[in-house]
Amino acid sequence: MEHIGTADWIWLIPVLPLLGAAINGFFGTRLQRRFGEKAVHAVAILMPSLSFFITLGYFIRLMGLPEAERQLLCHLFDWIHIDTFTVPLAFWFDTLSAVMALMVTLVGTLIHIYSTAYMHKDTSYWRFFSFMNLFMFAMLTLVLGDNFLLMFIGWEGVGLCSYLLIAFWYQDIDKAQAGMKAFITNRIGDFGFIVGIFALMWALGGGWSDSGFTLVNPGQLTVVFREVQQYVGSLEGATIFGMSVATFACLCFFWGATAKSAQIPLYVWLPDAMAGPTPVSALIHAATMVTAGVYMVARLNFLFAMSATAMTAVALVGALTALFAATIGLFQNDIKKVLAYSTVSQLGYMFLGVGVGAYWAGIFHLLTHAFFKACLFLGSGSVIHAMHHAYHKAHNHDDDPQDMRNMGGLGRHMPTTRWTYLAACVAIAGFPFMSGFFSKDEILWKAFSNANTLVPGWILWAIGATGAVLTAFYMFRSYYMTFSGTFRGGAETERHLHESPKAITVVLSILGVLSIVGGVMGLPHLWHLPNWLEHWLAPVFHGSQALVKWGEFTHSTEWTLMLVSVLVAVTGFLFARMLYRDNRSEIPARMLKRFPAIHRVLYHKYYVDELYDATAIAGSVGLAKVSDWFDKYIIDGIVNLTGYFARFISWLHGLSDIYLVDGLVNGLAHASGAIGRWLRGWQTGRIQTYLYGVLGGGLVLILIRFILFD
């Protein structure tokens, strides 16, 4: 880390989309009314593309630098500065963030172009593009952030944008509900992330002993990634809550990642997030935002590598999520739901990759996944767009344009969509020489051969492999149900089916090509071909290389595993083809009747949502009601000097307007009211009682005098 180049324009990369968001945000309505949609999307597309070119420029400059010096810093100012503790507002452009930024800007720009067609003639067109640009800003800040807190701005920023975009058509209350669910689940994750930051930072500075916290070296209190990496050595012996600080911090960060990247147990929001427009699902819930968790784990590779338990947790959760989500995906009828669960599953693979220590493999799968998953989503978007258009023309408003059961045989009407969708399916399934094959196979091989996790490598491999079979099956099931066979949606609508406009098809084809070609970045060592990506990311991950251990296996095992993964992909494909091609066979129907229970459980996502509603949400709302009652009656009651008293006055004199407080029980005021009433009773108006007072008063005084002083 000795030599850090300075680059003073990196801050433009995130800020340009922010500028775009601001322009569209404040002047969007006027722009749209006066110059039409053109002006709006002109601004919206220009900004990310500019960012893309700047990123490309710096990417090339980075390529030019010698390997050890491939990191650029753009320091703007000290964001938070308190005496010795400073948090700089600075952007960090090293090989990892370069690759990520490039992917984000490229895919983002393409999806912006796609959206111009998809969102055509939507009234709040400007608002959509403003939020999309805002999202680009947040994602780029997250990726380019130089320290935890700046990354956290991006982290929550993307959460906010996903909320705004999921609930884009806020008129429909369920879509708004989905948005809120996403934001709150993310917020639960962010809570873990923040606690992780605190624990890590303070552990660097000193340590917790039984007598509390002792600050050893205040100089090391930092949140900047590279400085954390420098001082991480001092975490050796430190323990917190009984486990090593590294483990605790990593588990907290991973808790944040599970929310952001939809892993078990906080994945529930992603399927509902499909309520948003399809380009949103493509950009945010497939390519960029959900991968933030993987990027974070990769960025903190030196920390994760220090604790085996944390790595095992990441790998295991990743593998289980991959399998679990794949099972749910099998029988979904909504095309976007299928893709949603597929995303969750693929993310599981990425976490499996980074979990076992093959960080570059995780990133490699992330990049390839971005291409083919975006392509799949946009493909489904184009299908939905066409179906919606056709239904509209045929005045049929009750059928759901997203339900695959009403589709079929669209291949004839939408050739480009079909071929690009097929290309992506092939890539994701892992057919040989496809991008998916290289990245997924690398992950499975690294999982098999790793010696870092407490769980033996072959178990992880086995889970991953079964997941891969299911992936292939449900992808091709969706392909055949949509594009092959005869159109099940009625002749009238079929007449109006035609290919989507040029903007959509061009983007689809670009992504299709990328998803096929993408694999070239990280060719396996086995074939003695140059593995560019691993070499490119090496400086970032050299911190963890020392700690990560691999089992020694002969080349033959590696070849056999590669063959097995090809076999897996092919079997999945054949099965799907047999069951769903041209919708001819009735096996699926018969299976449905024989095992209705299994189907219902899988279709209803193991009733996890209902479980959460019953426990967490009902619990907190219940607790809220109890504390509100407690606050209104108990605390307010005891302390309230005037409430009950005012009511008492009115009861006494029937002055209704003073009767203000209903139902407020209150001790003190009642007491003062009672004393007052009792004392008043003495004043009877008869002189005799007064004279008794004189006599009695005198006697009492004499008595007190003797009681007290004798």
Partner: protein
Amino acid sequence: MIIGLPHYLIVAAVLFSLGIICVVSRRNAIGLLMGVELILNSANINLVAFARYVESGISGQVFALFVIVLAAAEAAVAMAIVMAIYRHLRNIDTAAAVNLKE
């Protein structure tokens, strides 16, 4: 047995308690005033007795004289007020004069 200081004191004390009882029990305004007079006179007896036996000086007697004078003044004022009450209430029963209360 010769009459000494204690005898006077006892008479004064008895007179004082009679005055208190009269004041507390009588309902008639004038009865009450009589009670007040009794109390004042008991104080006079005390004063005169102490002047003779304790101080063997005359300040006690001077004090008694003043008390007598003031008792008369007070009686005059009280009578005037009772007269005013009578003109309104037709009776001087203190139990009737109770609308100033609580």
